[in-house]
């Protein structure tokens, strides 16, 4: 018998790494990120350039599937970030590529 996957996680079980972190993204009229972070926060940073955009559709056999639009951006200050928009929930995440 295979025990259900939803059993209590034990210390010796696998734990995912690089889990997407939710992030607040301000988009332009085309849906492209222009700034990242909370408006009230002083740390809100603008996006200098969109480097690359790609879309991932996966697990289509498990509705609604996994639909993500990844956007690699160059931030003001020079750092690179990879963001993605979950197309099912319209929420944004940041994740290491």
């Amino acid at each position: 018998m295979v025990p259900p996957a939803g059993t209590t996680v034990r210390a010796d079980r696998l734990r995912a790494v690089n889990v997407p972190q939710p992030v607040n993204v301000v988009c332009d009229e085309n849906g492209m990120p222009v700034a990242i972070g909370e408006e009230r926060e002083k740390g809100r940073k603008g996006v200098r350039e969109i480097m690359e955009v790609w879309v991932v559709h996966d697990e289509w056999w498990r509705p609604p599937g996994l639909n993500r639009r990844y956007v690699e951006v160059l931030m003001e200050g020079g750092s690179h970030l990879v963001l993605f928009e979950d197309l099912n929930t319209r929420t944004w995440f940041v994740q290491q590529p």
């Binding site: 734990r15 790494v17 997407p20 996966d58």
Partner: protein, 411 residues
């Protein structure tokens, strides 16, 4: 020269998947759960698996991601080869109390010479019971043991492989050839390709193989074929060959001027231990007990000794308890001459010797020891392990969070 001890009658004690057996001794909560050891040379693949994991479809050499897919509850364990070596050394040490003729073959497989034991313990069944009792002491789990009893090592080994878990198979004296004839050819020490070739020729049992002339097999497979034919025919009944423990190994140093500084004495002790470990007589053996004695300036003497809980061939492991004793009971005067003596030994396997002789492996063992104690302290303070190791799960996945995962790292 010391004469080798030998015995034609052999008992073979075999614990398949010895590393897994050791892990369940250390962590009894694993019993009855699907768990697997990661391969020491490739942490992405499985090495040894519990029965429950196999039942769920996981297999040796399978990748972690495949195995997790088949068995989501699978617990993955980091391999700890030094611990497995130590446990095997303990087993050998206990068995030497049953018979002086002990020949380790590999981790988890040891031959016990049983010639003459009938007067002490009775027939083969009684002798095997004593061996199991000795092997299983200190909380050992004896259901994993398989025992074979026969004349010669090869029939004893084959009998052990045919025995049910926790049981023994005795081959009566003189029945070796008859017993071997019904066994599959997989028991022969041949390369997998050679075994496949024999199967393609329709040869599945040792009896079918022996029906061919010896020359025919030699012509096909060369010398290994000849050796295999003779084993299969029961013509080669190798005795168990024990090795008498070496005489005490001593290493001494006379100081040009008497020394009273304990730091200097500790350093000398460490250097002498290193030299004594390099003695050729020590090769193949781990040190169980050691002592340090000294001649004092005023004419008296001083001595400390230690019995190692874990037999070792590592300088630091031997020196540490002696240093502690030196601190507690230092010499009562200045030391003129100091001698380190190894007085008791336990036999090691070739695998074990990899750790004993290889300086890099010894250093690794030291690092693992330090890491283990740091991890223990962390668990005591944080209430949970904070050390993890990254393993590849689906490195090809387009979703970054699916590529790698963390497993608890218990050094």
């Amino acid at each position: 020269m010391t004469r080798a001890l030998s015995s034609r009658s052999a008992a073979c004690l075999w614990v398949p998947a010895w590393p897994l057996h050791c892990e369940t001794l250390r962590r009894p909560e694993l019993v009855g759960t699907p768990h697997a050891l990661l391969a020491p040379e490739d942490g992405r693949r499985l090495w040894h698996l519990s029965r429950e994991a196999r039942r769920d479809g996981a297999k040796t050499k399978m990748t972690v991601s495949q195995a997790i897919g088949l068995c989501p509850a699978l617990a993955l364990l980091e391999p700890d080869p030094v611990f497995y070596d130590e446990q095997f050394a303990h087993l050998l040490r206990r068995l030497i109390n049953v018979s002086p003729v002990i020949e380790p073959a590999e981790l988890g497989r040891v031959y016990v010479g049983v010639d003459g034991l009938e007067r002490l313990y009775g027939g083969p069944e009684e002798q095997l019971a004593v061996i199991v009792e000795a092997g299983g002491r200190e909380g050992g789990k004896t259901d994993d043991y398989r025992l074979g009893y026969a004349t010669g090592k090869f029939p004893a080994w084959v009998a052990a492989t045919r025995a049910r878990p926790g049981e023994a198979l005795v081959v009566p004296k003189g029945d070796e050839a008859e017993f071997l004839a019904t066994q599959p050819i997989a028991v022969l020490p041949l390369e997998r390709d050679d075994l496949d070739r024999l199967r393609q020729l329709g040869l599945n049992t040792l009896g079918q193989l022996v029906a061919l002339p010896e020359e025919a097999l030699t012509a096909q497979l060369g010398n290994p074929g000849r050796a295999a034919w003779r084993l299969a025919a029961g013509q080669v009944l190798d005795p168990v060959v024990g090795k008498p423990a070496p005489e005490p190994i001593m290493q001494g140093l006379s100081y040009p001027a008497p020394v009273a500084d304990s730091g200097m004495l500790a350093h000398t002790m460490s250097v002498l231990i290193e030299h004594a470990l390099r003695n050729p007589r020590r090769t193949g053996w781990r040190v169980v007990s050691a002592r340090v004695r000294a001649a004092l300036e005023q004419g008296g003497s001083w001595m400390i000794d230690t019995v190692l809980k874990d037999p070792s061939a590592d300088r630091e492991r031997i020196a540490a308890p002696l240093r502690a004793k030196l601190e507690m009971t230092p010499p009562t005067g200045a030391v003129e001459r100091i001698v380190v003596e190894f007085t008791d030994f336990v036999r090691g396997t070739d695998e074990l010797q990899l750790f004993a002789r290889d300086a890099a492996a010894a250093a690794r063992a030291g690092r693992v020891g330090a890491l283990r104690s740091a991890a223990r302290e962390m668990v005591a303070r944080m209430r949970r392990t904070m050390l993890y190791r990254i393993v590849e799960v689906q490195p090809w996945s387009r979703l970054p969070e699916r590529r790698y995962a963390l497993i608890a790292y218990e050094p």
